[in-house]
Symmetry: C2
Subunit: 220 residues, 2 copies
């Protein structure tokens, strides 16, 4: 149940073939919203949670906390929050953009067999505050890194993951009755993808293509 | 110079051997603070920046922005901010904890040959606001995911990366003269590691070991 044991030997060499495969994994990571209904074996879910413990965290604080949504009522409350927030978001777009927004499938909440709501424990004393005096948000950022680890590990096993952020954090936290110090970070839909595409759905649907804007570097 | 081309074929199968290697990569990712002075070839730095574009981002917004610190004055200003913030942090610990804090090497700023300060462009229109109406912080979180992609890609190529957060965001942003909408996320020290350990330095130095706290899951 604990994190995987650490090896004593020196670091492995990651060769060109591995680097190419890692790049394929990053390309095929995708944010998945279309799932087959087949369940995710619980042993596989456990394996993913073990791997998450290898994520970087500020001061080694490991502040990620998971809620697994199994009851119909818990799932319903998240879907209801999404429906409200998504309607509000749609109301903020006009004309062609609104039509496009309405046509996007943004949640996957209806079918994803495994659903984890992820929180940051803002009250954790683990790490003794190291590294976050000037930047307290690094605690939540550690949870974001953990989700990225989960995303890659899931994809390497053939699972798709969708990160749902069109939700009201207070509403979801209340409905799931988590400790007050747990701050909502993400709702994750996980399952076997119903479609497999290397190009992001938002790009295929004409919402937003990748650009080279993020590629520019200032020199100082 | 753009992101790597995307394949048209179906998704690759990632086998057990790849999953095991990916786990090794996660184990050996480490936050590195001890570097050899040897330079990082610019072609390798460019390669890393291309791979970063594959990171997930809310609404496909790609809000990450990089500043490469080449001048002595830019590097000095970051080191000076670290020195001040680190002294403040030390003052917050007592007794044995303070002694331990003082003994930790927390920056790597003195030797890392490649230094990137990473920002989030809060004014970007890319992505048309999708997914961040209720959670505007998902924009900065996209930058955190990009840094994790960079971390893994660097490590797979033998490079170590240290994420320095003991800095004053306003001070660093001002010293580097970036656009006002760019919000500081992280200062990254990158280079060839001077030591290689699978166990985090904070654990080896008795600051904070990994625990199984992050492994517990609530059921709802």
């Amino acid at each position: 149940m604990d994190a995987p044991p650490l090896p004593d030997a020196g670091p492995p060499r990651f060769d060109h073939a591995f680097c190419a495969q890692l790049q394929d994994l990053l390309i095929w990571r995708r944010d998945v919203r279309h799932f087959r209904p087949d369940p995710v074996p619980s042993a596989l879910a456990e394996e993913l949670l073990d791997i998450v413990q290898l994520a970087p965290s500020v001061g080694n604080s490991q502040p990620w906390r998971f809620v697994q949504l199994e009851s119909a009522s818990a799932r319903h409350s998240v879907r209801a929050s999404f429906a409200r927030c998504n309607a509000d978001a749609l109301a903020g777009y006009d004309g062609e953009r609104a039509k496009r927004y309405a046509s996007l499938k943004l949640s996957g909440l209806d079918r994803a067999p495994l659903q984890w709501t992820v929180f940051c424990d803002e009250a954790t004393e683990q790490g003794h505050g190291l590294g976050r005096l000037t930047m307290p948000q690094t605690l939540a950022w550690s949870v974001v890194g953990a989700i990225h680890v989960l995303w890659l590990a899931a994809r390497a096993r053939g699972l798709g993951l969708g990160w749902v952020s069109i939700l009201d954090p207070a509403e979801v936290s209340g409905a799931l009755d988590v400790p007050p110090a747990w701050h909502f970070v993400a709702h994750l839909c996980i399952g076997w993808p119903d479609e497999e595409e290397a190009t992001p759905e938002l790009e295929r649907q004409g919402w937003q293509a990748r650009t080279s804007l993020g590629r520019s570097v200032l020199i100082r």
